[in-house]
């Protein structure tokens, strides 16, 4: 079996992935698995997905040669995959379009989603409005306070946002609550998970919908640079944008795959979200993967300046890519990400999301040590408009 053929029928990527949920959810997951197996091969479904991505999302997103930024390094040439130019401003919409189309095929009129920073919530609310479905978004009450604008965006789009008060009141608790809703309303409801985590088939399905990023990159790099990059870089929280750009490159053995996690205040501080760099394997949210946990197996709170990376787990396929050595995982601190954020604003006229700034920061670390004819491709997974507040605060500015 080729590595790109994973997962197996039970959702395993080597020892990772699987279906770790209460019996109450098994039947719903089995139905979803069967439906997805049918529609992923269905020409009509695929054509509709492609059509929506082209005309609604605005794909293909360009690959852009960041010349001024590359010159500044004096080393490798850096290319950016512009997912920030998608409708709603990030890669998240690729997946919500795919899952919403599937929900429609299954006759579900209500969709639910979890969200941390609000990007996946907004992308879910967007497709719910587009396809005329009811939408409920679960969001930790702490995150609601930090992301008032996105909460308002979701409401404008017609979604109800339910504050989650349990546990740490953040993304992981929102996911727990969405699962509880799903168990209760499984007949009427489709649960749109926003990342490549959760029980099988979610990690595979979200990867497949997001892999349009990598598929486009392969032909775009050929067209623009006449070659494939020496390395592909992407930030990793749950890991959906990284899996999306990595997956079509897994078979390109000469291309390094580098996932960049959030080192927060530094790995040694304990205040970070670098699950693959510093966590241990365990079971959470329906799959076996690396987790941020204490010695007793309790999940611990994470920290990152970027809410989208602030998650104590990571997609199981990343865990497998790490253990197998096909991908490498590194971590970038809040400060390093911020520095890259400002640099890209000034040199390229692009305001990147703080999540994506982690991948940019690692590119900035390695590019100067590389040769001028070498190339890096960074997934610019989202734009930074949503982060104005956080960045301004860091610079001591209050709106």
């Amino acid at each position: 079996m080729q590595m790109g053929d994973l997962p197996d029928d039970k959702g395993h990527f080597g020892p990772y992935g699987g279906v770790f949920v209460a019996e109450t959810l098994i039947e719903a997951l089995d139905q979803l698995k069967a439906a997805y197996a049918k529609y992923r091969e269905d020409p009509e479904f695929c054509a509709e997905f492609d059509y929506e991505l082209k005309h609604y999302v605005g794909r293909p997103s360009p690959v852009y040669h960041a010349r001024r930024w590359s010159e500044h390094f004096g080393g490798a040439q850096v290319y950016l995959k512009r997912e920030d130019l998608n409708h709603t401003g990030a890669h998240k919409i690729n997946n919500t379009v795919g899952q919403a189309l599937l929900a429609r095929r299954l006759g579900k009129k209500r969709i639910i989603a979890e969200t941390g920073a609000g990007q996946h919530g907004v992308a879910s609310a967007t497709v719910a409005a587009r396809y005329g479905m009811e939408c409920v978004v679960y969001m930790g009450s702490e995150d609601i306070k930090r992301q008032a604008q996105n909460v308002y965006r979701m409401k404008l789009l017609g979604a109800s946002v339910v504050p989650v008060e349990s546990g740490s009141k953040t993304l992981k608790d929102a996911l727990n609550e969405a699962m509880r809703d799903w168990v209760t309303n499984v007949d009427s409801t489709f649960y749109i998970i926003g990342t490549v985590a959760g029980p099988h088939p979610y990690p595979m399905m979200v990867r497949d919908f997001q892999s349009v990023i990598g598929k486009e990159s392969v032909w775009q790099m050929e067209e623009l640079a006449g070659r494939q990059p020496d390395a592909v870089l992407a930030c990793v929280g749950g890991g959906s944008n990284a899996m999306g750009i990595f997956h079509p490159y897994i078979a390109h053995k000469n291309v390094r795959l580098i996932g960049v996690e959030a080192a927060g205040l530094g790995l040694e501080s304990g205040k970070h979200a670098a699950t693959l760099c510093a966590g241990k394997p365990g079971v959470l949210h329906g799959n076996r993967t690396y987790l941020m946990q204490d010695d007793n197996g309790q999940i611990i709170e994470t920290h990152s300046i970027s809410a989208g990376l602030d998650y104590p787990g990571v997609g199981p396929e990343h865990a497998w890519l790490k253990d197998s050595g096909r991908a490498e995982y590194v971590a970038i601190t809040d400060d390093e990400a911020l520095a890259a954020f400002h640099k890209l604003c000034r040199l390229e006229g692009i305001i990147p999301a703080l999540e994506s700034s982690h991948a940019l920061a690692y590119a900035a670390k390695i590019a100067p040590c590389m040769k001028k004819d070498q190339t890096l491709l960074v997934n610019l997974s989202g734009r930074g408009d949503k982060d104005m507040h956080t960045v301004a605060e860091k610079s001591g500015i209050v709106f």
């Binding site: 209460a22 019996e23 197996g297």
Partner: protein
């Protein structure tokens, strides 16, 4: 014969149904746990389900979530819960103890170590909510090797082929989740359960307990007429939550005795 099977055999001979209370270990505090277990046994519990607190109890409603949070705040870990079970066993050799919880604390301890330690502590059954049968072959075998019954959930949505798969692995009793939703939800439909249990018994030859949604003597009684065991969780945890310190044992005892009387038709 395991302590759980012996308990159900004796009950069947007496034509009685089992009462299985659930409490979260370490809630409201660690010192209360072992006395609480003894109080449950004295009030008429046939089996005690002891919840192992977890930071992310995905299948539980707000009441049991809060009890887990209280227990975690006072530092209750899987290791400590095993200590409670061992302590209880010193003076009670009769009432089976079933640990109920989530996978990750067990993953962190390691299967071998956990199975051996649980056997050593006198634990009789283990129910891991997020280990469905296909992901628990290895642990189930280790538990059985240590004299512990692997307990499984069956849901209203479980199809026949799954029920068969579960029946193959399950020992002691199976736990039928009586409604769609999380623990502590309302709206129990006894008629629906009656039909489903009749179907289950074609494939499941060990006792069937019913839990989720049992809130008073009346529902407990109705469920006991069709099931082999009645599991009471959220209602009990709610009682612990609202009891002032010092009243927990008494209030819980009164509630369990009421349920016992209702089930026994007294």
């Amino acid at each position: 014969m395991s302590r759980i099977t012996a308990t159900f055999t004796a009950l069947r001979e007496q034509k009685r149904k089992a009462l299985i209370p659930f409490v979260t270990a370490g809630d409201p505090d660690q010192a209360t746990c072992v006395p609480l277990m003894h109080a449950l046994a004295a009030a008429g519990a046939d089996v005690i389900e002891l919840g192992v607190p977890f930071s992310d109890p995905m299948a539980d409603g707000p009441t049991i979530q809060r009890s887990s949070e209280r227990a975690l705040r006072n530092g209750t870990s899987l290791k400590i819960v095993l200590g409670f079970a061992a302590e209880f066993r010193k003076t009670n050799n009769r009432t089976p103890v079933v640990l109920m919880g989530y996978a990750n604390p067990i993953e962190a301890m390691g299967y071998d170590k956990f199975a051996a330690a649980a056997g050593e502590a006198g634990v009789d059954g283990v129910l891991v909510v997020d280990y469905p049968p296909e992901e628990s072959l290895k642990l189930s075998a280790l538990l059985e090797k240590n004299g512990i019954d692997p307990i499984f959930l069956i849901a209203p949505t479980s199809i026949d082929s799954r029920i068969e798969e579960i029946a193959k692995l399950a020992r002691g009793y199976v736990y039928y989740v009586s409604l769609r939703g999380v623990t502590g939800s309302a709206n129990l439909n006894v008629e629906e359960i009656r039909k489903k249990l009749a179907e289950l018994r074609v494939r499941v030859k060990i006792p069937i307990g019913v839990g989720f949604g049992i809130r008073d003597g009346k529902t407990a009684r109705a469920v006991s007429e069709i099931a082999d065991a009645v599991v009471i969780g959220s209602r009990l945890v709610e009682e612990i939550e609202k009891s002032p310190p010092g009243r927990v044992l008494d209030n819980v005892s009164v509630l369990v005795k009421d349920m016992r009387a209702a089930i026994d038709g007294r």
